[in-house]
Symmetry: C2
Subunit: 195 residues, 2 copies
Amino acid sequence: MAKIVTGKNHSKKEVILKKAATLFKTKSFSASSMRELADVVGVEAPSLYNHIGSKSELLQDICFKIGSQFTEQIEQISTSDKSTVAKIEAVIRFHIEMMAENFDEVYVANHEWKHLNEPYLTDFLNIRRNYEKSLMGFIEEGITKNEIKAVNPYVTVLTILSAVRGLEFWQRNKKNVPLHVLENDMVNQLLYGIV
Amino acid sequence: MAKIVTGKNHSKKEVILKKAATLFKTKSFSASSMRELADVVGVEAPSLYNHIGSKSELLQDICFKIGSQFTEQIEQISTSDKSTVAKIEAVIRFHIEMMAENFDEVYVANHEWKHLNEPYLTDFLNIRRNYEKSLMGFIEEGITKNEIKAVNPYVTVLTILSAVRGLEFWQRNKKNVPLHVLENDMVNQLLYGIV
DNA sequence: GAAAAAAACTAATAAGTGTTAGTTTTGTAA
DNA sequence: TTACAAAACTAACACTTATTAGTTTTTTTC
């Protein structure tokens, strides 16, 4: 009889969630089966249900855990006394660090949210929309204060968020390009350009 | 007995491919069934097989059609006599236009290539790697010629490609932000920054 | 209009899906 | 040791999956 091995400070559900994130990232949510997940966890598929409610619930937990971490952070940056440019920089750096530390979960939240059921799908999209609004607020504030060029705030938010989201492709080159180089160069390009 | 309606200059396979791209974009490749596709096409599922080889083949066709369009374009830009900055700008603008004109296919190629079977998966990744190398060549050339700051070329490529890939999120806001504004502002931010 | 080819159909297959029921084993407290 | 709960197991269900076989209908060609 196999057993779920839990490290210290990790419930069995957390172990399952972590392995699910890795599986969903690698194979996508829909193409991942509960039997495959069970294999990775080292247990028979039905045994998973002693710890989790459903396959959907796994996706929900991953997406909202990441979602709330980002929300929390941007609220903290909002209420700080940084300059607007420094706020934007802080957002970019936080994205990069989240990507570095919670790659699988962030990847899944970014790519597989589409498979959330209602009402979670709507909730998740609202969280994201609010996040984008906060960041857009920084941009607008920066333009008002003449700290930032008169650009279209929406396009700027789109560009920044897309750029940091693309960090998933960096993973394979981790060794060649260390984190701090990536962080500094990306911040510099997005804020000051390359020309 | 239902029938596949083909507009002029479109084979029945092309009709299926177009609808498949839309379906795969909306629901993801794995979560899309041949029965759903058949529904959209207006025919029973087995009838599709008179025109296509398999579900996988649909994904292959979509990915490689888009892949070769990008490859062709970057080769053309490579052999042009533009300045390096102008070359980079041309790449960004081409991405935006491709996204605007072939949204579904580009989206699927960007998101669902993971589900390609071998040897197609390897081939596709090679195509992408070569594309990235070409773009990286422009950056390196620009640095050598002092037209571009001394940045890390890999990070720059990553940032640019991620930004343009993120245009998929722009679709919903098409009406508020017209294409030429998006194009100009994104080019400007990536080349000249926002500060 | 007859013959051939293309493209639709129905029926079926084998494999895989998430999940439940019921049972047995394991770990914990008294 | 005994009782109880947690967590594993096997077996099974109801469905869905891509795809094939075989047949019928439609379209094209002469």
